[in-house]
Every structure is written in structure tokens, then in C-alpha cells.
């Protein structure tokens, strides 16, 4: 089974809010000093799902990332968890790519890798939280996609996929090749073992530019108008009442007025 996993390196979501800065003029997030970027957590779920499928059915896992040279660390982490090969698309033209451009270049990269049975992505990235790339990628490749996914079983050339819905999940049968966008309910990503870390050290990560893939950074669909850290203001309102019951009733009334309940 040939599996491709798309991973994104993101700013560590556990970065303290006090250290989160944006350059409003440049409309860019300023990387916090001393806090290295990390693998998007949902992508770690996708990696884990791929490794579990490989353990069950055999095969090969290729990890692809679009990003700067630092994204090599994200690929190395995936390799240390059990993936087999890595491809980094490092091209400054795609530094601020929107979801469409990202999907476009990933589609070209996947075509360059060769045949595949399954593409796994995280359901969304924790930096921009757009949840657009997986479906766009599937559309560009002309294959079915499911999101968000909480479980995967393989039977022959068919996937049995547990898809999260608002009040539970539904089970879908999907023919391969397909793309699944994995959610955190699917698994608990493993920690790299020492042997895995060593295997990652030996593995070679291919690096390609957009030109190598025959794509360019055109067709941007989203214009970023403003990037800023919203001011969070909190107000305290004391709910009064003669008795605890009256206070509770008044509290319920106010919450209803604010449409909280």
C-alpha cells in the first residue's frame, strides 16, 4: 500500500499568548524567539494513521511538506515515527501561499512521487485553521475525499472510514485511491523511538522547488486584508438577588439575554 502524508510545520500552539506577535504592516506572524515550530498536531494524527496502516498491511509512506528549510524537521519527525521517504517543497514564491496555491503545488508534488493508494492529511492546520487544503487537493487530483476522519479500515481496494458528524459519526465506504483528512479522535500519535530517530538520520529528504514540479505561484484566491491580534476585553457583572435561588434565576435570565444559553 503506497501512502502519502502531507504535513505542515506550524508555530507551536502552546506558545504563550504573551509571546505571540504579528507584524501588522507586513501582515505576517513573527516567530517567537526560542520556541521552535512543530508538526501540526492533526498532521501527527495523519502520520500515526499511516504508520498503523503500514504496520497492518505493509507498504511505503512518503511524507511531503511545503515550507521553509525548517520544515525538514517536520519531515524528519515523520520519518522517525515510521515513514519511509520525505519530500520538501522549498520555494520562497510559496511562502505566503493560500489554500488553493498550497493544494496546487502539493498536487504537483504528489504526481511527481508516482502511484499512490491513499493520501492522508490533517483535518486542518493549527495556525490558520482554514481546513481547505485537503479537499482542494483531492479535487485537483480527481479523487474522493473524506473529512474529518476518526477511523480507517482497509479491505482490499476499499476504505471503510469513520467520519465525524455533529452528534456522532457515520461510516462510509470509499474506493481507493482517496484522500482522508484525519482528526485527533483517530489515534494518539506515537513518540519517536531511538531506532526511529536513527532511521530518520539515515533517511534522505528530497528537496524540490516549484519550478522542479512545473508549477508557479499564481492563481491566489484569498487576499489578506489585515492581520492583527484582537484585543480581548473582559467585563465583570455582579448578579444580585435576595436568595441563592433568586440569584440563580437572575443569572439564567442574563445568560439567556446574552444568548449564552
Amino acid at each position: 500500500m503506497n501512502i502519502i502524508v502531507c504535513v505542515k510545520q506550524v508555530q507551536d500552539p502552546e506558545t504563550p499568548a504573551s509571546q505571540f506577535r504579528v507584524d501588522e504592516a507586513a501582515k505576517k506572524v513573527i516567530p517567537p524567539p526560542g520556541i521552535p515550530p512543530t508538526v501540526n498536531q492533526y498532521d501527527a494524527n495523519a502520520i500515526e494513521a499511516a504508520v498503523q496502516l503500514k504496520e497492518q498491511h505493509g507498504g511505503r509512506i512518503t511524507v511531503i511538506s511545503l515550507g521553509k528549510d525548517t520544515a525538514r524537521d517536520a519531515i524528519k519527525q515523520a520519518l522517525s515515527m515510521g515513514c519511509d521517504a520525505g519530500l520538501l517543497i522549498d520555494d520562497p514564491a510559496f511562502e505566503d501561499a493560500d489554500a488553493y496555491q498550497t493544494a496546487n503545488v502539493l498536487a504537483a508534488a504528489i504526481k511527481s512521487v508516482g502511484d499512490y493508494d491513499l493520501i492522508l492529511c490533517g483535518r486542518q492546520a493549527s495556525d490558520w485553521d482554514q481546513a481547505q487544503v485537503p479537499q482542494g487537493l483531492a479535487e485537483l487530483l480527481g479523487i474522493p475525499s473524506v473529512t474529518p476522519v476518526a477511523g480507517i479500515e482497509v479491505t482490499g481496494t476499499t476504505l471503510r472510514v469513520k467520519r465525524l458528524i455533529e452528534d456522532g459519526y457515520e461510516v462510509l465506504e470509499v474506493p481507493m485511491p482517496a484522500l482522508l483528512a484525519v482528526s485527533n479522535e483517530a489515534n494518539q500519535p506515537r513518540y519517536p523511538t531511538l531506532k526511529g530517530i536513527m532511521a530518520a538520520a539515515r533517511a534522505k529528504v528530497d528537496v524540490k522547488s516549484a519550478a522542479d514540479l512545473g508549477v508557479n505561484a499564481v492563481g491566489r484566491k484569498v487576499q489578506l486584508l489585515r492581520l492583527y491580534v484582537p484585543k480581548v476585553e473582559s467585563q465583570i457583572e455582579w448578579i444580585t438577588g435576595e436568595t441563592p435561588e433568586e440569584q440563580a434565576a437572575n443569572l439564567a435570565r442574563r445568560l439567556r439575554e446574552e444568548r449564552v444559553i
Binding site: 521552535p36 524537521d73 524528519k76 519527525q77 522517525s80 513518540y191 519517536p192 523511538t193 531511538l194 531506532k195 526511529g196 530517530i197 536513527m198 530518520a200 538520520a201 539515515r202
Partner: protein, 386 residues
Amino acid sequence: MAATEPLDIDLLRRSAREFFAHEYPPPRIRAMDEAQELDPQLWRDIAALGWLGLSIPQEYGGAGASTVAAAVLMEEIARAFASLAVDYALGGMIARLLSDVGTPEQRVRWLTGFAAGEEILSFGISEPSGGTDALALTTRARLNGDHWVVTGQKLWTSMAHKASAIITVARTDDPDPPDRRARGISLIIVPTGQPGLSISRVHLAGMRAAGTCLCYFDGATAPANHLLGPRGRGFHAMLGMLNVERVLAGAISVGIARGALEDAVAYAKDRHAFGRPIGAFQAIQHPLAETAAELEAARLLVHHVAERIDAGEQPTKEAAMAKLFAAEVAIRATDRGMRTMAAHGLAAESDMQRYFRDARLQVFSPVSNEMAKNIVGEALGMPRSY
């Protein structure tokens, strides 16, 4: 020394940090420290990550990694939980010993289970009558037909209460000539769980969960083929490990010092007095800056010595320096950390008091800082001072 495997040090460091942050955060560590026991699951977890096999050759289920990798991992473990680091260091030392001088049968028998976390091994060298003067040991082993009979006492034998065997340093033969005391000392793998061996815990104020023990050998037996390395050359077999042991002890001190610095800095930023964070006052800021500088120097020294060991050298003087310097850095770092946090650092809920207690062991283990100075002094060409 066997060739070592390449390894992505940053990835190792990052994955170790994430493991502790998510699986064993400080409250879980504090609970083990207070219970004075390692959670057996923690040992199994680090075995599953392959950490126990770090120094073991790949043919016996290990990773065959470098001393530098061991130092990095040791710092990360000690940063999270120094008691675990002590036991982990001991395990690594035993694994190296078995790899270096064990017979193929002994390696298969003991290394595989140890790397998998299924078996714990302990090491008995110090005795109630002395530790630094290791050659004065009084534990004896005599060969009686097809088995060894061991009599004596061992103190500070970490994890002996959980081990399936204790590698016991014992005199098997009189030294010849008598002033060459290192001769006639052997290593015997003594199985636990036998009537001739009783083990009791010794509760220390520092490294409380490491589980150090007192062992009485009163006619304890071991099969004749449990002799590890050549008979009468046990001390020589250990000499090859001493530099590794000392540099890794330095890495443990670096980990403790880092914990003290990180917690102290976080506290200094958060705690306010006179309308400012206390870290804004030089009385707080300067000592922490000194710790930061010393910590960096200690880490560089540890890594430098580890690199030389990996290059096949025996940097005895520098390994003693790394152990000595890093231990003193840990003492100063925890003292400054404690002063920064004042009474908050002494609270049971604070990790600072644990770092403070744990750092004390680093001054005299695995070799006292005074003996380390003797080694350095002698290497500088001065007469032996002990």
C-alpha cells in the same frame, strides 16, 4: 569501542521533552518522588522508546548510539526527573559492561531483556565501610564446584530491590603482589530472590525515587558461568566505563541545573514586588545570568568530553573535570533558584526543593568531587594526593 550510529540530536531532545511534558508532567514526577519509587510503567515506557537500549549494540536489541546522544538524553531525563536519570545512567553503565566484557551467552541472556525493559539489573560496588576507596572492598566470592558463593555487604545499590540480578564487585583472589589491590577483584552476576541475599531500601533525602538499597550477601550463590569478564580483572573491566559514567553524571547535573534555572526564571518573570516583576531587580537577575553562563559552559564541557570518548579517546582528566564542574554548577544553580523563589521553592508543591535535594547527590556520586580533583591534580603532573 563499537562504532556508533548517527542520530538527529535535536529530534532526540525534542521527542524526549514532548514525552515528559505530555506523559509525565511535573505533578506525576512529584508523586513518584514523594512515594520514593519509580512507577514501573515509566520504566516500561522508556524501554518502549528504546532508551534503555541506547548504549547496547544493535545485535542485542539496542540502538548502539553515541556518548553524545547519551549525554543529551541524560540531560533531558534529569531535567524532568533526576531520580530516573540516576537509574538510567546505572543501566547504561551495566549495558556497556556487558557489551564490553560479557560472553555472547551473557549478552543474549541479560542485554536483550534489559533493553526491552523486562528485566532490571543492579550494580553493587560501594560497601558500608567505604565507597571512594573501592579497592578496599571486603565482599568475597569463592568458587565452590559449579557455583560462586558470595559473602559481604553492598550499599547504594540502586534498583536492587527490583532487579533480577546484581552485578557484584567481589574479591575472588588475593592480590598478587599484595600492594596491587586491583588484582583479584571480579564481577559476579548474582541472581536476586535467593535465601542468601537480603535487600532493604535506604531512603535518601535526594534522588528519592532512585531506589537505593543495602544488600547483605550471606552465602548467596551464582552459577560459575555468571563470572562477568576475566577472573581477577573485574576492576580493570570497569575502568573503561569510568569516563563514560563521569561524563554522564555531568549531564545529569546539567539537567538539574537547567530545571532550577528555568523554574527560577519563570518565577522571576511572574512574581511581582514593588510594582515590578522581581526579575527586574539585579539582585535576582544577575545570579540567574551567572547560572545561565555556567550551565552553558558545563554542557559544552560534557559534550566535548563525550565527543572525545566517541572518537576513541580516554579523556580521564577532562571526564573528571566535567563531572566536578557540572556538579558544582548544579549546586549553585539550585541554591540560586531556591533564593529566587524563597519559601515558595521550599514548598512540597515546588519542584525547586526537589532539584535542590537531588543536586546534593551529584557532589559525591558516582565519584566524589574531591576524588575528581585528585584525578585532575595527578593528571596535571602533581604527586598522587590520596
